[in-house]
Symmetry: C2
Subunit: 379 residues, 2 copies
């Protein structure tokens, strides 16, 4: 385990697509979806423990979830939780983490805090570090395969000034993911040709058949020098905002600085803001049983089914004349269901939702309506 490996876990999402399971006060990453005893964020942190020193794991989350993070991952120090005072997508989130890591590296190398306006030679090799950025709310089934891939990626970015993203071998023409087209080659490490948005079904089928396209996982690896340069070049506005307060990172001035500055950042994703524009981007082909758990449908697809293609998560369910349903109730509950085909039945914390799987995009409307009537109790 190299002392200059860092990991940034992004945990600011509100996961409203999994309502009523996932709620404003306890979003998806904090839930134990499969009844394994661990939430998605706990599993995410555990996956990085053998690779990154524990005190180099940073969680970026909304300030309202700080206590939830501390509760679920008690061996984190408070200083390892970077609190966003507003939701600004992944680019400002990553820029914040990069600024924070710079201060950590500076202190590790020099044994002291940075001073205001201090002139530091950041291109000095001593000042470099390897950074993994990962979402907190994805499912990864094969942990050791994941760790092998990450280690391979780390070796590569330690020696190459390139941005590296993990691309998942597609197993179906999924329309819910972005795709990465890679350059031809024999190695599992390739240059990226293009990033594409979520395709329609026809296009997704072409992508998968071509063998040139991978699912964009949102898991990135790069060294500090490279991401620093790329943010500065492609998002100079955001870069400059963070540069101004860099010396405050890791001090008692950090919180106030972020509170005032962060909300002034534009809402922009790292994919759109940096990855699609960067000079050198590579992709590492990976295959470790991955899902972004973006929808009930994807959860259904992943789950073990009975002979009638029904799924019961965390509960007992008796199905009669019913096929293709996913039922998720609080642990220990029983469901008796008759005459339902391809529905989601989900209950959590005082809210029951019943909706056809094919219409789950309507959940947004349910949440909005629940919000109006429940005074925040139901959303």
């Amino acid at each position: 385990m190299k002392q200059n490996n860092y990991c940034v876990i992004m945990a600011g999402g509100i996961g409203s697509r999994f309502w009523p399971f996932s709620r404003n006060k306890r979003p998806k990453q904090f839930l134990d979806f499969f009844g394994t005893g661990k939430s998605l964020i706990q599993m995410t942190v555990d996956r990085f423990r053998p690779i990154v020193p524990m005190d180099h794991i940073l969680i970026v989350t909304n300030v309202i979830y700080k206590n939830l993070v501390l509760e679920q991952i008690p061996d984190l120090k408070e200083s390892q939780i970077l609190c966003e005072p507003a939701r600004r997508n992944t680019a400002p989130c990553i820029a914040y983490a990069v600024a924070h890591i710079k201060a950590m590296v500076f202190e590790q190398v020099t044994g002291r805090k940075m001073q205001e306006n201090e002139d530091v030679d950041w291109d000095d090799d001593k000042m470099n570090a390897n950074i993994i950025v990962a979402p907190s709310d994805h499912l990864i089934l094969q942990e050791s395969a994941f760790q092998q891939v990450i280690k391979k990626g780390l070796r590569f970015i330690a020696e190459h000034d390139t941005l590296l993203t993990l691309g998942m071998k597609p197993t179906r023409p999924e329309t819910g993911y972005g795709y990465i087209q890679m350059m031809p080659g024999d190695d599992s490490l390739r240059k990226v040709k293009t990033f594409t948005e979520k395709p329609n079904l026809e296009l997704a089928q072409v992508f998968v058949q071509s063998g040139e396209f991978l699912w964009n996982s949102g898991i990135f690896l790069w060294n500090l020098r490279t991401i620093r340069h790329e943010i500065k070049k492609n998002l100079p506005d955001i870069a400059n905002k963070f540069l101004a307060g860099e010396w405050m990172m890791g001090t008692d001035k950090e919180e106030e600085f972020i509170q005032g500055m962060f909300p002034t950042c534009p809402n922009i994703s790292i994919d759109y803001g940096v990855m699609e524009k960067a000079e050198s981007v590579h992709v590492l082909i990976a295959d470790f049983g991955w899902s972004d758990l973006g929808t009930w449908g994807s959860l259904y697809d992943l789950s073990e089914k009975d002979e009638k293609q029904n799924v019961a998560l965390k509960c007992q369910a008796h199905f009669y004349e019913s096929t293709g349903n996913i039922v998720a109730l609080p642990e220990g509950q029983l469901a008796a269901i008759r005459g339902l085909k391809d529905y989601i039945v989900a209950e959590s914390d005082g809210v029951l939702m019943i909706c056809p799987k094919s219409e789950e995009q309507q959940i947004r409307q349910f949440v909005a309506d629940a919000e109006v009537q429940g005074d925040g109790k139901y959303n």
Copy 2:
């Protein structure tokens, strides 16, 4: 309020048709169906308070519900709860209550307990009493109309040696009720021509159109002398069993006697065993918003509906592309339901049931299956 009015409330049912709302450990009569703050049995007792002295109200129930009755109706004395050690339908239940009331009347008239083999002149007018028998789990909407009818019935049976039943003016060709055909006449009090079993829909339509038929409510009035004679004549086996232990009623021997004897009684209803065979039976035409709440469907029919014909009981429910459903969740819960037509969605105490209204006879199967797996937890 006459001091020789008695009321017998039958509360031994297990109400499995309302599973999962109604459970073995808390059947239908003990539930607050409409979120009014009172259970059906509490409302039943309250309806009789102005008519019958409180200490003349008897509850006949299964021994396992004794504590539930005491908890829900705390101003009852334990001696007012007659415990059945087994389920034997209404005839043994009523025979037991009649034996118990005989002992109460004897003590009230003589100031002492009956002795074994004591020769009492039960046909003496002093020994007579008026008795109302009513189920504990029906819904009655117009309480004062109900009380007027009961008072009229009491006046009649105080002066006539006849069995009197309340017949409800039918408002629809309901196939879930038995019907009473009455003799022609102008008064709301008529002689009964026939009792009929639950009819099919065609027959029910003929019944309702004829104007001669009433719904059989299962609420009876009679004086002690008459019911005593009719049980003796029509159910001599049961009558003799109770006669043998009559002197033990209201003493510390009652419980043991009933424990040994009651299970030996045949399983027979008062309708079949007595009403259909008795010499003189009258019906009092009544109209006070009555339902036996026998099925989810009947509960749906009775309940207030929104513009899409949906019913939400005790909970909030948001319906989308959904019509004709009845949803009953624990108080304070929210349901968001899309794409359901004519379903029952009911949840209580760890069990969720979803079933088309037209197939609610399947509930028996759900309960049986739940029983197997839940070790009694779910039934």
